[in-house]
Amino acid sequence: MEIKTIVGLEIHVQLKTETKMFCSCSAKYFEDDANTHLCPVCLGLPGSLPVMNKSAIVQAIKAGKALNFTINLKSRFDRKNYMYPDLFKGYQITQFEFPIDTDGHVVLSSGKRINIYRAHIEEDTAKSIHDKEYTLLDGNKAGVPLLEIVSSPELFSKEEAKEYAKKIYNTLRFIGVSDCDMEKGQMRFDVNVNLEITKNGNLYKTPICEVKNLNSFRSMERAIEYESKRQLDEFEENGIVLAKGNKTTRGWNDNLSKTFFQRDKEESDDYRYFPEPDLPPLILSEAFIKDAISSIDILPTDAYNSLINKYSLSKDIAELIIEERDYYDFFMSTSLKYKNYINLSNWITTEILGIIKEHSLNISDIDKYTLIKILESIDKKIISVSSGKEILRSVILDKTNVDILIEKNSISSDSGKVDSIINKVLVSHKDTVEKYLEGKEGVLGFLIGQVVREMDGRVDPKDVREKILVVINKIYKN
């Protein structure tokens, strides 16, 4: 028996705009008091009318470009009709028949191309909080612009699904289309999962199940994993295969790591789509699209290629640097002043990212001069690599002055002092020197450490090592 998991992903991202999709209420509602960002339009009051947000359209065009979509000159908004308390008008304004972006794709690291059917603009619903006795509604989120990106079912494992989703996440963040902050619900996944089972030479497809509203990569992966197992069990138990109308919708319980049945798809899904009469078709000029695209200064793929080709970075390092737009910007601006790009990128990806991740800092808050100054001082042998790392940490975390620290840790130019300290250390640790001479080379580190300590660190351990070896060879090894 051979089992193949088939996954299609619908990703909702909140487009980064100041205001909502169809009204001038602020779209930045996170942690604000409930129902404070409302007007007749987003509250769905009788007589109100929608007006499109230009930035949201621009963002959808940028996403279209970055994800290799055809950006349609003519698209249209439709009404998706269903009544639910979080949907104030009783219909959602979305793009059904003619979405703005069609036929896109991304390429995974394996080289596999994942086709994306479409990306369309729609409005978000209100937030509802369910209690035992009642449901609370907050309209601040109602009408916030979303882009729904619908992949074709070409993802054959949870790993592929995750890589695809991560790719979308990185790309949209990189060009500023969305912050994709999952804790704020700015990126959500609906996964469509089923299995292709080959058994005794026959191919069986299990019924498709849609798991809705997953709000982290982890829960997405786990939901796919759970569904694969559940569907296999179910198939072995009842043998039911995919048929028209037997798609189901399930929810995800994160605490139990389980999906749970919500409803049969056909039960209520008659959305009665029709063109939104309150909005004329969205007709874009070539010039408008060009303008929108030109607001993308660089696409992540171009950035990646230039890091490899122009800056000679390794693929792994380049991958790390384009993971966030801020990292890339940091590299680009420091590289203007510091030309050993490989060294620079290593410091950024190991030291700087290490510190900011450990302490939840933003790379954009880090002073570029600090890093450049430290790297230059190391190159000029003013400080040692290890003091450089410590200085960096201290400047970032304790806000100490980099120039003073470098001065304080600068390698002593008084080589006579180093020589006399080496002699002193070797004499007082005669037994250690003996061990070295017996072949225990590991003890050399201890001796170097003693010297560096006596010198208050103002010495390059590499130099010390060389000098110690010279002395030992000359005096002790006869």
């Binding site: 009788p46 007589g47 007006v51 009544m83 308390p85 009783g90 009665r272 029709f274 909005l279 004329p280």
Partner: protein
């Protein structure tokens, strides 16, 4: 009394703004008991609003009525439905703002949510036709027309989705204008059929209509379907030379003797005015009503979904076993005609029917629009009767919805294609009038009003 004469009296200080308010509110309370043309009388609102007002426009202190499906902050806006019985709108429609400091006397009675042609579908009782109290005033803007016809106000703003301004204007012997779709903002009009609805004007004469249009017309950035056009002074009727008027051919069954007779006499009048008349036989216009009754209910069924009992309007109270029961209870106060239209729309939009109804009707709508724009290459205006009959008796058609729908047969086409159309009183039969409907080219209301003015001054009245 007309707007221009009251404006003159006011400016010459023969009457004060105080006196206007006193007189008109007093009349309103008395007459409304009999006519039921206002759902609410807006005395408190208006006295407060006009307390420190000065004359700033042609409409300052001029008494007017606003149909109750147009939001006015500080008044109750019921849209003629029990569902919104106590609904205080928290904002004001653009057209009402554009009217400035006029004197709002009351909110006009109407068929619930503007679904109807007689005002009998109101949740607040039928309005009587002031010309004959056994007859309907027409609808859905029946309250507005009745208030204007009985001199309780000098102008009224209604809404026209398929004739709701022109037909009651005709039934009450008044002028009713449906402007081009997009000339006047829909923002704040409680939607019925969004791609059909326009605010409209009901007045005693064409000049008053022009004065009101001057103030409500204009682009509104809150309405994506509104259009930027050069500002015109509609009171300056442009000179019309070599005018060609199309005369619509129509099937005569269902059209009353009086209407046919008066239509003939208006043709005679036009002939005497040296206007070139051209008979027009449309191929698709007979389908207008069917197209209308597919597309409008479709839009209605969606527009009415916001009445869920949660954020405004009537709220259900009991306990519910399901969300569906909650909604059904919340929406149970919808009047029967509202329920009927929602269900028709739900049906035609639902799976399996969408292509046969919605898509097909949209295509026929395109055909009709194409045919009109072809025809209007050769003519400047087009005339037809406004209604197939004179005002009918209260209660006569209320139990036969389809029969009621047929009373819109001449008016719906203008809404299908967005063209402007006006109804002016044509011929008098006892106390009642028939109406003459004139279509103009889109955004040429100035010429349409100009021709209407000419005919008005020539016609027998």
């Amino acid at each position: 009394m007309s707007i221009s004469s009251l404006v003159k009296d006011l400016r010459d200080k023969r009457i004060s703004s105080e006196e206007i308010l006193d007189t008109y509110f007093k009349k309103a309370y008395i007459e409304n008991k009999e006519l039921n043309c206002f759902i609410s009388i807006s005395e408190e609102y208006t006295r407060k609003k006009l307390a420190n007002s000065k004359i700033e426009s042609e409409l300052s202190f001029i008494p007017g009525v606003i149909k109750d499906n147009i939001n006015v902050k500080g008044t109750i806006s019921t849209a003629g439905s029990k569902v919104l019985e106590n609904y205080r709108s928290p904002y004001t429609a653009t057209v009402v703002k554009n009217l400035g400091n006029f004197a709002l006397i009351g909110k006009g009675n109407m068929d619930s949510f503007a679904f109807g042609s007689s005002t009998e579908n109101s949740g607040f009782g039928v309005t009587k036709n002031p010309l004959d109290k056994n007859k309907v005033p027409g609808g859905s803007s029946g309250g507005v027309a009745a208030a204007v016809a009985s001199d309780l106000v000098l102008f009224g703003i209604g809404t026209d989705t398929g004739g709701s301004v022109r037909q009651p204007a005709a039934f009450c012997g008044l002028v009713g204008l449906k402007p081009t779709y997009g000339l006047c903002s829909r923002f704040g009009l409680i939607a019925m059929g969004s791609s059909f609805d326009v605010p409209g004007i009901i007045t005693k004469n064409v000049t008053d209509c022009s004065i009101v249009l001057n103030s409500i017309a204009g682009f509104d950035s809150n309405d994506s379907t509104s259009i930027k056009v050069a500002k015109k002074d509609y009171t300056k009727f442009p000179k019309l030379d070599n005018v060609k008027v199309g005369v619509m051919k129509f099937p005569q069954d269902g059209v009353s003797r009086e209407v046919l007779d008066s239509f003939d006499s208006s043709i005679d009048t036009l002939k005497k005015m040296n206007v070139e008349l051209i008979d027009i036989d449309f191929k698709y216009i007979n389908y207008s009503l069917a197209v209308y009754y597919i597309l409008v209910p479709a839009e209605i069924s969606s527009n009415m979904s916001r009445y869920d009992g949660i954020r405004f309007g009537d709220h259900p109270k009991g306990g519910y076993s399901s969300i569906s029961d909650f909604y059904k209870d919340a929406r149970d106060k919808f009047e029967d005609e509202v329920k009927r239209r929602i269900m028709i729309g739900t049906y035609t939009l639902s799976q399996g029917y969408f292509d046969a109804y919605y898509n097909k009707a949209t295509q026929v709508r395109n055909l009709i629009k194409m045919e009109f724009s072809d025809v209007f290459k050769d003519i400047d205006f087009l005339i037809s009767p406004t209604t197939p009959t004179l005002p009918f008796d209260i209660g006569k058609k209320i139990n036969d919805p389809l029969e009621m729908y047929l009373s819109d047969i001449f008016t719906v086409t203008a809404n299908l294609i967005g063209y402007p159309a006006i109804s002016i009183p044509n011929k008098k039969f006892g106390n009642l009038y028939s109406g003459l409907q004139i279509f103009g080219r889109p955004f040429e209301e100035d010429r349409l009003l100009s021709l209407s003015y000419l005919i008005e001054s020539k016609l027998w009245r």
